[in-house]
Amino acid sequence: MTERDRIVIVGGGHNGLACAAYLARAGREVVVLEAAAQVGGAAITREIAAGYRVSGCAHLSYLLDATIARELKLASHGLKWARTGLKTVALAPGGEHLVLDGGRLESGTLSDSDRSELAAWHARMMQFARVLGRQHNRRPPRLGGGGRDELLGAAKLGFDIRRMGREPMREFLRIAGINIYDVLEEKFESPLLKGALALDAVLGTNLGPRSNNSVLALLHRLSGAAQDGAGPSLPEGGMGAVSEAFAAAARAAGATIRTGSPVGRITLDGDRVSGVELEGGEKVSGGIVVSNADPARTLLRLLGTRHLETGFAHRVRHIRMKGMAAKLHLALDALPAFARLPVALAGERLAIAPDMTYLEHAFDHAKYGQCSPDPALEITMPSVHDKSLAPAGKHVLSAVVLYAPHDPRASGDGPRRELLERTLGILERYAPGLRRLVVASELLLPADLEREFRITGGHWHHGELALDQMLMLRPVPGAAQYAMPVNGLYLCGAGCHPGGGVMGSAGRNAARAVLATELSR
């Protein structure tokens, strides 16, 4: 094998690792270069205080693709679940709460109409999400160009929508492009229920409940569970364990993984990539470079705009990829008691978004570059299910905090301190006494996530998931098939179809694109 046959993968996030595993299994020589000291990218586990470990960015597994887990034998590579199918507990300020298990109300008070609507709503959303889920492991088709394959791809997508049946298809075409606020207002009465359902639609996006595209964002979130039915789950050892399993699969297939090797530049030989140069100056050559980094970082920084056509560079520069979510980590001396919530439920997924207006107001501030004074929260305490994460009797709390815009006005120590203070204030209101239990705390703003995980804009999906940035439009229209307009360069991260969430599909699809192209060469 010559150096030209080597495949260099930039970034050891879960998608880069998945891609490496598939390529190595196909008999290719693969080297993964990861900047950080450990693999995993935004799916890592790390210590925030002695003995306290948290999932550094992503904290729940919603979307891990069942096909990929099976093909790569992730279970035999050490992936175990501490808990699958977490329930959602919607908390109200007064201590009242609803416990939702999918479409079933487990406890709490809802009107009969809400109760039956909830079951129907959940079933419907799952049905729609399945259509999206079915696209995960497919290469998005090109529209209006290309040959029969492309037409067939587009037809498959159309067929998936059509075969739901007439009424569901009508409803899908009606609501897929609009906002969660209007849809939930049509169906439900309870503000608390609507708040919790809407939270799922806006988590991690640049959308308020009243922004169009939020229904689609919800369907994306559900699209994993719609496939295998697991729902939000906690891996044993935190999200880093998922990445470790991917890495083990890649290594077992023969891939080389080098950590502490930040790539500084993608090198070219004529019109074709020739490898990469590390920040330290070392060159790693390879005839194919697959980047797990986000599209902007890969194309504008590592490759450089001078190698791109102007219109293409313009499109890449305009990908909307500013993060809107902050991440809170707390080391706690004991399990906090949420008012009136049975202790047995403390380990579920706790939602603080008491109504949709609360969420919308939180979003209003973020539109103008400020952190929300009253943020909404998605809280998990994984140590309840996984004793390895905290010393005996102690706990960790991990929460997504909405909204924190990637904006100079909301970055740095001042805004970070203020948002931490605000968030702790809210937690204290819902769980009196919680503040006294805090041993250590950490709040990561999008700018911090950007720095730590090298994601341009700090958006955990490597780019907003909206109609104009999905499927054949992701990362940019005309280049959604993983191959970039420079010979030998591919993308394999969440910036490509099917987008963010720890699923591995982008890595798998990219590997297949590489193999298909290089075989035909």
Partner: protein, 538 residues
């Protein structure tokens, strides 16, 4: 009691267009109208003696030229006078003007940003391409994507082919254009905040969305796809006010033998054996026909003029869920002279067009936040025009008529009904904003007709005061307008049809919904189609 072939409920411009085509086909057609006057929201009335107000809609561009020509509206007295100019003025006194000369326009943009001056050409080309794609589709019935009928499949194929003609990149651009926010869309071209503000107004007019809301880019297209005498994107005044549009169509209708009764609001549509047979009106009369067409909005149609027992419950639920939130208000002002705008100086031709007072996208978005929170915008977006500068028939010599369209105004104030005090407060908010840019304005004000969504609903019958008879969002456009499965103008009962702006292609004084509905009715009656096909632009 006379029996008619068809009855149209509501003499708005779409109802009249629909009636005109049915009558032209030889049917005996009656239009029943609740108000003592006709025109719906395309109306001119003399509220202050000597002044003619375009009370609701105030400018014309979307009216389909195919229909204008086919119904010979010029012969029936309609004249569209194009106007030039248009300017945005900032609170610092800077301006951004519209000029017809491309080079002058370029220099004006370059003054704010040389980069944007270059981008403007690219922007215009892209938007024009979208107009060219959509214009021929306006006079077509949307296909039902869930149907296997040959006609629907043929129409879907036609759409696919049309898209394909423009090429791969255009298809992607179209997908983006229909789903992006106007701020993001403009952000791909421009850097100057003022230029973005200036262009983004068209994306929010009449809509319950802010400039940052995904979905507003389409609304911009909706305001760009019209023309005046073939000049695409241009706007004009109907000479004598917007009522001239309705009057001309009514005149055409009457020339085909049609009949209009006013002061005859429909109380109930009579249904027998699953089909419509007539209407009962408030003046105690009944009129009979096998074809009933509603020009009212979908909510009003299915929740006020039917006995609920006569309708499938699913339709009533769809009508209740129909999104028709009002977001606009209107001030019609009689002026004793021409107000001065120091930022423009005297006799500036820019003053002939739409004037806006803008500073930043953020300020425009905050105006939307006020609406969301249930009050009128404290710093509203105004589309201000002085039609009498172009059309002297609107006001006595030396005097002027000013039309001020206001975005955003909620249908209810924090959940409760509007009061007269609220209306006064709203009026003063608008007058104060204008006065900040025109010191002599207030001294010239002689009479103000102030219309909030409350008045629009009470007088015109637009539910919640929504000017488009239903919001222009993806769930309510094309094959979803008014409801999925009912987008081909047929209602749930035999003989019942819809023809208002609540049907495809939606609001604006277009007359396309009325004509499209007529085509479907004539098809059902197995009569030759008289409705012209959409023209193609070259």
């Amino acid at each position: 009691m006379t029996k008619y072939d068809a009855i149209v409920i509501g003499a708005g411009h779409n109802g009249l267009t629909n009636a005109a085509y049915l009558a032209r086909s030889g049917l005996k057609v009656l239009v029943v109208e609740r108000n003592p006057w006709i025109g719906g929201a395309a109306v001119s009335r003399e509220i202050e003696k000597g002044w003619m107000y375009s009370n609701c809609s105030y400018v014309c561009s979307l009216l389909r030229p195919e229909l204008f020509r086919d119904l010979e509206l010029a012969r029936h007295g309609l004249q569209i006078v194009p106007y030039g100019g248009g300017v945005s003025i900032t609170s610092q006194g800077d301006i951004l003007g519209n000029y017809t000369d491309e080079q002058v326009q370029r220099r004006e943009f370059a003054r704010h940003s040389p980069r944007d001056a270059d981008a403007y050409h690219r922007y215009s080309t892209d938007v024009m391409r979208q107009c060219k794609f959509i214009r021929p589709l306006l006079l077509r019935t949307p296909p039902d994507p869930t149907s296997m009928k040959p006609r629907d499949l043929r129409e879907l194929l036609f759409l696919g082919r049309e898209l394909n003609k423009f090429g791969e990149q255009f298809i992607y651009d179209t997908l983006c254009f229909y789903s992006m926010s106007i701020a993001d869309f403009l952000g791909e071209y421009f850097e100057s905040d003022l230029i973005k503000c200036h262009l983004s107004g068209s994306g929010i007019i009449g809509s319950a969305m802010g400039v940052y809301s995904p979905g507003t880019a389409y609304v911009l297209l909706h305001h760009y796809m019209g023309d005046v005498d073939g000049s695409i994107g241009a706007w004009g005044f109907a000479r004598g006010g917007m009522g001239a549009v309705s009057n001309a169509i009514a005149s055409a209708f009457k020339s085909f033998g049609g009949e209009i009764v006013t002061d005859a609001g429909v109380e109930r549509v009579i249904v027998r054996g699953g089909r419509v047979t007539g209407v009962a009106t408030a003046n105690g009369r009944e009129y009979h026909a096998d074809i009933i067409v509603s020009n009212l909005d979908p909510r009003r149609t299915y929740t006020t003029i039917f006995d609920p027992k006569d309708l499938p419950p699913a339709i009533i639920e769809k009508a209740r869920n129909w999104k028709i939130r009002g977001s606009s208000g209107k001030l019609n002002i009689a002026l004793d002279g021409l107000p001065e705008f120091p930022a423009l100086g005297r006799d500036n031709p820019l003053a002939y067009g739409d004037m806006h007072f803008l500073d930043s996208l953020e300020k425009m978005e905050r105006a939307y936040d006020d609406w969301k929170n249930g009050t009128w915008s404290k710093e509203p977006y105004l589309d201000l025009l002085i039609p009498s500068m172009t059309d002297p028939t609107m006001a006595p010599p030396g005097k002027h008529f000013m039309s001020v369209f206001v975005q955003y105004v909620p249908p209810k104030i924090r959940g409760r009904e509007w009061t007269d005090e609220d209306r006064e407060g709203f009026k003063n908010t608008v007058l104060d904003q204008i006065a900040r840019y025109s010191p002599n304005f207030k001294s010239l004000v002689r009479h103000v007709e102030c219309r909030t969504p409350r008045e629009l609903e009470a007088e015109v019958g637009l539910t919640e005061g929504n000017i488009f008879q239903g919001e222009l969002t993806m769930d309510q456009l094309l094959f979803n307008r008014p409801f999925p499965g009912y987008a081909q103008y047929r209602g749930p009962l035999k003989g019942f049809y819809m023809c208002g702006s609540g049907t495809h292609p939606g609001g604006g004084v277009m007359a396309a919904p009325g004509a499209n509905a007529a085509r479907e009715i004539l098809m059902d009656l197995k009569r030759p189609n008289l409705v012209p096909e959409g023209w193609r632009d070259d």
